[in-house]
């Protein structure tokens, strides 16, 4: 086992308030973790983009705009050649919204760069988005 893959055996875990300034740090943490795990650049780039979109969705959609921001949770882990990324919130759950500040781009971008995407409820309230990415040499 190389030092890189040993380093990757502990998941990366972050919980921060969901504000626009947090997006850069979370995607950089995810990219740094994967680089240390020996991921090829295309894979790291796909995860950077997906984390950025998923965290932005939490900031834009999970909590009522006038409330104090709630938390966003990020977990990145590597297992048998696959990168697993989870972005979760404790917000109001997914609903279609005509007044969306986005343009319906986030989820399709994630579906495009990830191998697989899973969306479901998170604990008592909120949304959990799990993404997996193949392409890491085991």
């Amino acid at each position: 086992m190389s030092p890189a893959s040993r380093g990757a055996s502990h998941p990366l875990r972050r919980t921060v308030p969901a504000v626009p300034a947090c997006v850069a740090g979370l995607r950089a943490d995810a990219a740094g973790y994967l680089a240390a795990a020996g991921a090829p650049p295309e894979l790291t780039e796909a995860v950077r983009l997906a984390v950025s979109e998923a965290v932005s969705n939490v900031i834009l959609h999970a909590y009522p705009p006038d409330d104090d921001p709630g938390p966003v949770h990020l977990v990145v882990e590597v297992s048998r050649g696959t990168v697993h990324v989870t972005v979760a919130d404790e917000g109001r759950g997914i609903a279609p919204r005509f007044d969306s500040p986005g343009a319906g781009l986030g989820l399709p971008i994630i579906a495009n760069v990830a191998t697989r995407l899973e969306l479901g409820p998170a604990g008592e309230a909120g949304t959990e988005l799990r993404m997996s990415f193949d392409g890491l040499a085991a």
Binding site: P20, A21, V23, A24, G25, R27, A28, D29, A31, G32, A35, P41, T44, E45, R48, L49, S52, E53, S56, I59, L60, G102, A103, L105, G106, I109, N112
Partner: protein, 117 residues
């Protein structure tokens, strides 16, 4: 994509703006996301009718859908106000994002700012 040596400490976001008669060239540096896209959009400022705004994205280390939305809004503003938007995406992740989202079909895309007309 030019990944900064240490992704934790990328180039801070900034926008260089040059106005030369009817042509404004806007060159952002760093990463465009939810926190910085509004700054990119605002940097274009007042544009003369008949003018041209070149947005040079080649120095970006990263861009996500917030950047795509800013470009689409600028394109719309240009159509309404009568000036042309030209985007220079480089050949990294920004170009791939423009292509996959087909934003590149809607806005004028060139390889270098000199390539206009």
């Amino acid at each position: 994509m030019s990944v900064p040596a240490d992704p934790q400490h990328g180039v801070p976001f900034g926008v260089d703006v040059r106005r030369d008669g009817p042509v404004t060239t806007v060159t952002p540096e760093g990463e465009v996301d939810l926190a910085t896209a509004a700054e990119l959009e605002a940097a274009v400022g007042e544009m003369p009718s008949g003018g041209r705004c070149v947005v040079d994205l080649r120095r970006l280390a990263f861009m996500d859908s917030a950047g795509l939305r800013a470009i689409m809004r600028l394109d719309l503003r240009g159509r309404e106000e009568g000036w042309a938007l030209v985007v220079v995406p480089g050949d990294g992740m920004v170009r791939r994002l423009l292509e996959v989202s087909r934003v590149g079909d809607r806005v004028t895309v060139v390889d270098a700012p000199e390539d206009v007309e």
